[in-house]
Structures are given as C-alpha cells and as structure tokens.
Symmetry: C2
Subunit: 160 residues, 2 copies
Amino acid sequence: MNPVTQERRHYEDLAIGDVIDIGTTTVSKEMIISFAREFDPFPFHLDADASKASLLGGLAASGWQTAALSLRMLGDTFLNTIASMGGLGFSDLKWKKPVMVGDTISGTATIAELRRSRSHPERGIVTLDLDIRNQRGEPVMSMRLANLIEARDSGAIPAS
Amino acid sequence: MNPVTQERRHYEDLAIGDVIDIGTTTVSKEMIISFAREFDPFPFHLDADASKASLLGGLAASGWQTAALSLRMLGDTFLNTIASMGGLGFSDLKWKKPVMVGDTISGTATIAELRRSRSHPERGIVTLDLDIRNQRGEPVMSMRLANLIEARDSGAIPAS
C-alpha cells in the first residue's frame, strides 16, 4: 500500500449517503477579474459597468471559477483526506444563479455511488453530488463528479 | 439590439455541424504548478518526483486546468465572435488521458444542437461538442457545453 496514503480513508471506509460539508469561500472583485482575465474574458466578468447591461445584472464570477473554487473546497475537506488517485470526469454541471461580487458560497458533497473498477478491482470509483449555494441558501451550481480511490484490499476473488 | 454585439454572429448565423478550430496551447510546468496551487493541490500536479509514483506517471495538469484552458481557447476563437450571453452548463466531461508537462493541446468545437429558448424566444441555445487532443492526436478531454446566444429576430409568432 502507498505509504503516503495508507493513513487516509480508502474505498472501504466510505458509505453511500455520507454528506461532506465543504466549507465556504467569499468571492471578491479581485478574484473575479483575475480569473476572468486568464480564462473567461467576457465583459460581464471583467467590468462592473458592462456587467450591469448584461443578463447577469452586475459583476459576476465566471461559472468556471465557481466550479474551480468548489473543487478547491472539496479537495481541502474531502479529496485530500482520502486515498484519491485523481478525477475521472463529471456530468450534468448546471449553473443555476450567478455568483456576484461579495457572495459567499458554501456547499455539500454527497456520496451517491460506490463501486469497484471493473478493470482494476484494487481501485474504487466514488461518485459525488455537489450542491453549491450562496449566502441566502439559493442553489448556484450543481454537478456530479467521479473520482478514483485506492481500495485497502485487492478486490480479487479468492481461489476456492 | 445590443450595440456591443450587433456586429457579431447571432443565433440565426449558426448551423448544426459547423466545426470551429479552437487553436492550440502548450502547457508548461509553471502553468501546471500555478493552477494546481490555487485550485487542485495534489502532489501529482505540484511535484515532479511525487507525480512519478502516481497513476499519471509524471507531472500532469489538473483536468480542471485542461477544461479552463479549453474554455479560453473556445472564447478566443468562437464565444467572443458571437452574441453570447453566457454559459448554461455542460455535461459528460471526460478526461481521457493526462496532459503532461510540455504537451500541446488543440481542439475542435462542433455545433451539435441549436434551439430557441422556450421562455425567451429572442434567445437561442447553442450546444457544442468539444474534442481536445494532444500533439499526437490522442483525445485528452471531451465535453458538451450549452451557451445562450442572442437572436436577431424576436422569435415571436406574428399575429394573423
């Protein structure tokens, strides 16, 4: 077993229905503009005046920034506490409301599925439903992620 | 019509099957480490030695960085040339191979669906299939995005 991760929770230590509180992050104007300059340079993420005329009605974070910040929160509170081997992908990401300057996002991750990898039974796949909300409790983003995790036992069927 | 966007392509100017070349980006060690520090601080995205022992086999970009870089490429070559009103979400993001230090990613976006918004027929929804590959032509990521776009005409049914 990997010495770096053996103290961490493994596949066998997780249960469907577990809910992880992933904490909070407050989104500043500087954060919004800096991320948008690098990845999503639209006027409504860069300029307070231009954003007022947009559908968003004011300076709003790139939805991709909300996703990246949520990933960081999930990493700090969960992925870095388990023997994670990396992400596989995600599905059904939905942006439900914009995240505006000064908003504080928080969220939960719920373990929706747990299964062994078919090709590598010493690995598990954990599926998480992420629910991100603003300080008024309104949903701003949801998505489902799949992550590879080490198992403690090999998952091999013993010879009889 | 919005004076900022009236010269840009609108809903009516797009066609299903259009393929957009979104260009190329080379991913440096500095880019990988800087993104990972902020959003995805796992040893296999931060440390060349630790990454050799991981499933990735060497220093690899966060999959979320591949997604964010692809978004930037799509913005520069397409989203900033149309009357885009913002993203709605995406589905079925899959990371297929790691993006390693020095890899050059390129990609195409294909218009998969075009429809009017039901609640706001003066807006359209364009669905894009993104196919990102490395310099050997191997797929590294795919996803489907939905974006809101202004229409030139209101979409209203004239009174008879």
